[in-house]
Amino acid sequence: MFNFPSEVFRVSYGDLCYMKHNLVQTLVSTLVGPLLYLLAFGYGMKAGDTEYIAYVIPGIVAISSMNSGFSSSSQKIVIQRLFHSSFDELVLCPMHTSSVIFGKCMLGIIRGLAGGIIILGLGMILTPDLFVDYRFILALLMSSVMFSLLGVSAGLLANSTPTLSLFNSIIILPMSFMCGTLFDVSSLPEIVSYIVWALPLSHTTSVLRDAASGSAVDPVSVIMIIVYAAIFYAICYIVIRKKLY
């Protein structure tokens, strides 16, 4: 058996150095979006409604972990593949494919975790109805890993930066609004609710919300997140091993 954590660290070393160089920019770009959501939906729309704030904050955390996980992994890979040809170096190293995949996820996972915890921390100041325990951290971790894997597969498959932006606007952006993050989707037409239920963000939102409010986590959602993560991982694996990128 090979040393998986060591290999993951070795692969992600470059990205970690990159994050160190751009710590302020990374932090600001991770937090601006979620803070605007918090301002617009938490204060602008329903000022003083602490119940709604407690409802919406886990949703914002879910959006934030999706955006951070997805965008850091996908953008970095597209740039390395198409413009720097430094992705070849990664392919050339004597590492297991699983280490390469999770190594490239690290940046997204770290950003997703950090952003999520900061937003929830702010939320806990605003309303007494939220709390953090290991279940919340676990849910946040699962969400960040799953969306980072999605980011890695998108980064491997996109043939240009516009393709990646397109993916962002037709998949990531609609999910942000439609997956029960900011409002309850049960008021939408029935057919829409089926589609929404099939999307991964619905399940990370549900798990994060249950964990943050202290209620029981829906096991179906946990399974769905794992299934999605497995599918995204499989895509990355096949694309790398068959050199389809």
Partner: protein
Amino acid sequence: MDNIISAQGLAKSFGSLKAVDDLTLYVRKGEIYGFLGPNGAGKTTTIRMLTTMDPPDSGSVAIDGFDTRKDFIEARRRIGVIQQHHSLDKDLTVKENIYHHALMQNIPFKECKSRVEEIIPLMELQERMNTKAEKLSGGWKKRVAIVCSLIHRPEILFMDEPTTGLDTQSRNALWKLIRSINRTGTTVFLTTHYIFEAESLCDRVGIINKGKLIVEGTPQELRSRIGDYALVVTDPAGEESVSYHSDLPAARKAAQEAPGDCVISIRPSNLEDVFLELTGRKIRCSTSRPRCSGSPTAICVI
């Protein structure tokens, strides 16, 4: 003789273009193998298949006995690659790039520092360790790429057109370095489109044209195939015709028969002659009698 690289029946197409076509080659342990061919011949495509970067459409590659498909990790441990286009991470400093390579090659954490400190003076990189890779000039990037490719002490070093775009001085320095790396036992596989480079640096040369390996051997063997001496006859209109002869007397004898109004020169044949002769590209060389009539006006032996 040990073959450290053996490639059999490699083929790769891009759409309808056969970039590499049924290519079989063997590289022996410890030699400098030159892969010579014009632009677009398929050199980069071949090197990418040999180094596990791209899978061949058909055929197989073994590096030191390890199949690059099945045992790609073992194969990759044994190779260092310097690509034609620089593949450093431009956002990172020189030092970070080198450490990243050392880490990705699974060098134990404790050893990384000493390895880096051992290798950087060789390339005089000490002063530039904290410079961002994107700020370096081409020559310095090449040096960093060399350090990165050697940090894990590979058994085979692949270099794709290492001296293209370098000035004479840097090129000579790089040749010296390649020879010294080779003397320590590292096999070198390099591609080039410079005839002179293949002739003077390489132990054996394979010539590739339009995706096919057309001939292989030591530079001397290749020249002997067509004849060690080239007789060049230039007629008054400036039209050249070349014939090849196995020795100087034979070339001189043929020169006597050349027409009088032609300029005649005899020189050792080179790999360019071999390439032209075998591919028929550029000029068609005649091995029979030159075309013009009369007796020779000048003979010069270079």
